[in-house]
């Protein structure tokens, strides 16, 4: 008891000394000024008229890619014109976890923070539950406390930081537990490799413009015993950041769009654009593709630039709008 008491006093005294330091006082003043600036900015936004922009009924990025992409690109347009927007998703009839990830990524972009953005939750009780329990409210200001469900987790990470193996480890532990609940000892190496390679690729390619955040979200669908993963970075996209050999570059100059580059991409024939260790690098994409072929991966979709790729069937689709970033979605199902 005495040891605890001494330790407590030591910690307390160190904290009190810190509080009196010049650096501490300076930080306190800066934080106060920043809070004040934030409040003033919010008041400014409140004075402006918000444009109510209704989301597509089928609010699913993987199932209704073109419409949802257009919706978010329109919002980017409003933001660039400094127009405050209310993202109205009250009337939607379909919502998938991947769209929640995209929504968060868009709301947290640097440009988005410079204008007023507000939003609501779906009316449909099932969708509302999914939306409020997603953990999205941990990253936005809202009235009342919304507790995220333990069945899903939303992470944000900056590309100027490091590849987080521990984060991938936590996600794989959830997957291992799901399989264990059904009496299956699942080797999660492939999932871990996939997530780490996705993070690593983002670190090298996505932040060519500036440092951005990437988002990882997993959602456990108890009905279908499926874990749904969404990984997103709003960088420049795979096809805009990758280098291809001169032959493919020549073909690309004659053919509009990036669909022609899908096959070499799926075969792992993209040339790494970095200079160091060029000869031995470039196996990450192949490792991701190999994971996608595994039976337990029920769905595997990549959306980048103007292309949507179903990696399982090796089919691609030309999108009507451009998606500046890389979006990886996959489902791991116990029933497969």
């Amino acid at each position: 008891m005495e040891i605890y008491s001494t330790k407590f006093h030591q910690i307390r005294s160190r904290y009190q000394t810190k509080r009196l330091s010049k650096k501490w006082k300076k930080h306190k003043l800066v934080n106060k000024a920043l809070r004040r600036k934030g409040i003033l900015q919010q008041r400014e936004y409140a004075k402006k008229d918000y444009l109510n922009y209704e989301a597509p009924q089928k609010f699913s990025f993987i199932n209704n890619t073109d419409e949802v992409l257009k919706y978010f690109n329109d919002i980017s347009q409003f933001i660039s014109r400094k127009q405050s927007v209310n993202l109205d998703i009250e009337e939607i009839s379909e919502l998938t976890p991947d769209t929640i990830t995209l929504l968060m990524a868009k709301l947290n972009e640097k440009a988005s923070r410079k204008v007023g953005l507000s939003g609501n939750a779906p009316k449909n009780p099932k969708l509302k539950k999914m939306f409020t329990e997603s953990g999205l409210y941990d990253f936005v200001n809202s009235h009342g406390k919304k507790i995220a469900s333990s069945d899903n987790k939303l992470w944000r990470h900056s590309t100027d930081s490091l590849v987080k193996g521990e984060m991938a480890g936590l996600a794989t532990a959830v997957c291992r537990n799901l399989f264990a609940e059904h009496g299956i000892a699942y080797d999660t190496d492939s999932l871990y490799n996939l997530l780490v390679e996705a993070m690593s690729n983002t670190l090298h390619h996505a932040h060519k413009v500036s440092n951005i955040n990437w988002w990882l979200y997993y959602y456990l669908d108890k009905e279908t015993k499926t874990l749904k993963f969404s990984f997103i970075d709003l960088g420049v996209g795979i096809f805009k950041s990758a280098s291809f050999d001169s032959y493919r570059n020549l073909i690309k100059s004659f053919t509009p769009g990036n669909q022609i580059l899908v096959k070499p991409f799926l075969e792992g024939k993209i040339i790494s654009s970095r200079e160091t260790d060029k000869a031995i690098s470039g196996k990450g994409v192949k490792q991701i593709m190999d994971c996608a072929k595994l039976a337990e991966f029920a769905k595997f979709i990549i959306i980048t630039n103007d292309v949507k790729i179903d990696v399982k069937t090796q089919q691609s689709e030309q999108l009507s709008d451009n998606f500046a970033g890389t979006f990886i979605y996959f489902e791991i199902s116990v029933t497969n």
């Binding site: 794989t172 690593s200 196996k283």
Partner: protein, 119 residues
């Protein structure tokens, strides 16, 4: 040849290997190569003994990590003495062990034998 040196990746380094370069994190392939493998491997070569690397307990084997460690040293050695000779030398002095996944051993062996990415 006797096993004189041992490395347990999960215990001595990290159970969460990730990334190629040290700039990508403490658990990168470059950090593992320079801080753990290189010194012991050179000693194993000169003392004609075996370095045992235990891969048990790792969460996975991302290609960037394996390529940045095992692939990098095999590639650099291959530039000096030829890839076939370098791979054979590694296989002679390196013993890989893994109690929870055979795929990890194969992935490392493949990387040592073919460090250059086929494009």
């Amino acid at each position: 040849m006797e096993v004189k040196y041992k490395i347990n990746v999960a215990k001595d380094f990290s159970a969460y290997p990730a990334g190629r370069f040290r700039t990508e994190g403490k658990a990168s392939g470059e950090a593992f190569l320079l801080d753990h493998i290189l010194g012991k491997l050179l000693l194993a070569f000169s003392e004609k003994c075996i370095l045992e690397i235990d891969l048990t307990g790792m969460n996975g084997y991302p290609s960037s990590f394996i390529s940045g460690s095992f692939g990098k040293i095999s590639y650099e050695m291959g530039k000096l003495i030829g890839q076939d000779k370098a791979s054979a030398l590694f296989m002679k002095h390196l013993s890989l062990k893994c109690e929870d996944s055979a795929a990890r051993i194969k992935a490392v062996q493949d990387e040592i034998n073919t460090p250059v990415a086929i494009k």
